[in-house]
Assembly symmetry: C2
Homo-oligomer: 192 residues x 2
DNA sequence: CACTGGTTAGTGAATACTAACTAAGATAAT
DNA sequence: ATTATCTTAGTTAGTATTCACTAACCAGTG
């Protein structure tokens, strides 16, 4: 899908956004970070917009395993734990992701990018929704709470955790803190 | 604190960020939206950075009442409900806020702005933390869940709700949806 | 000898900000 | 009360810099 050079460009773009903000994502900065000239970039992407689209696609590819692994659990609560832990594992292994992935606002002014970003998010939410609803049917997850609220609490707290981790300068261990959060979420949603 | 013109500039800046993204927040765009010339802006703010600082201060001022009103309740659960509802009420009355206020990434490349934004957030979290901890002492809020996790679930779900509202084009009623979320949160944290 | 992936040199447009000037109103001196 | 001066908030016309992107050329590889 992406050539090696294209991958390098996308990774460099993410790095620049993470470290210096989207305002500093310029063709010149990407090129000089890689060590090639500006026009050389255009041999690999036809425009800056195409690079941004590729950034989102790259996220999608990288985060995919977090959605697949949860099928290995049968129990709904374990699936939810897996959903949380696997997402956080990938993010903590790709630290630059944290500053960029949940900042929809970064891409806000390009219709295409919003759509692409929304699709990615929605896919993720849909997976969690399915897990929750089947868990409620199986009487593993309490049914006196709206499933939409549960989704918002789970994904919302995950996202906030990542934001806090990123704003703190990655000062704490994301996976450990995620395990604690996941345990607390399980306690809260389980049928007693 | 802010002159009328300064207020108008700040409000226009928020409007532009909300509608066209931070990349389109230029002195020229602010000026022409207001109907004055670019240099006239510099009579009111010494630089673009000062305008962005003022944007954050403006948020702080506007959101302040949401933190004050919760003291009118005695019950901890009601305080939490008030925390959620009052925040959402202000945001739904200032729709442009939604796209900007929770996007820390927008201000990511200026040390001063990150600090200012973090302070604002932390103040808000501290208030909620106090409520939760005193609620746990009074046996109104369950103590088998880490208070930090509770904070993350409440604020995280609130933020996600606002993000979804904003990304959907404000298609649903934020306050109603917030009431539902708040009810579900109360159910989940109350001691039974 | 064509293709791939580089180069140098440049373009027009946009950006934050400045210089120099001005008209209207407030304040102060006579 | 009139005149002189200062301040405020605006203007037009610029500046240097940066931006995304292009033209034209070139060296190595199959």
């Amino acid at each position: 899908m992406f050539s090696e050079r294209q991958q390098q460009i996308v990774e460099t773009a993410i790095k620049i956004i993470a470290q210096r903000g989207i305002q500093n994502l310029t063709i010149k900065n990407i090129a000089s970070e890689i060590g090639i000239s500006e026009p050389a970039l255009y041999r690999h992407f036809s425009s800056k917009l195409e690079i941004l689209k590729a950034v989102i696609t790259y996220f999608q590819i990288k985060m995919q395993p977090a959605l697949e692994k949860l099928n290995r659990s049968i129990n709904s609560l374990n699936k939810i734990e897996s959903f949380i832990i696997e997402h956080l594992k990938i993010i903590s292994q790709n630290q630059d992701f944290a500053k960029v992935i949940f900042s929809e606002a970064n891409f806000q002014n390009e219709e295409n990018l919003i759509l692409k970003m929304n699709n990615m998010m929605n896919r993720s939410h849909k997976v969690l929704e399915t897990v929750i609803q089947s868990g409620q049917k199986n009487n593993e997850i309490r049914t006196d709470i709206n499933s939409l609220s549960l989704i918002r609490m789970i994904i919302g707290s995950m996202r906030l955790l990542v934001t806090q981790w990123s704003m703190s300068g990655m000062i704490f261990n994301l996976e450990n803190e995620g395990k604690q959060l996941s345990d607390d979420i399980k306690k809260i949603i389980v049928v007693k």
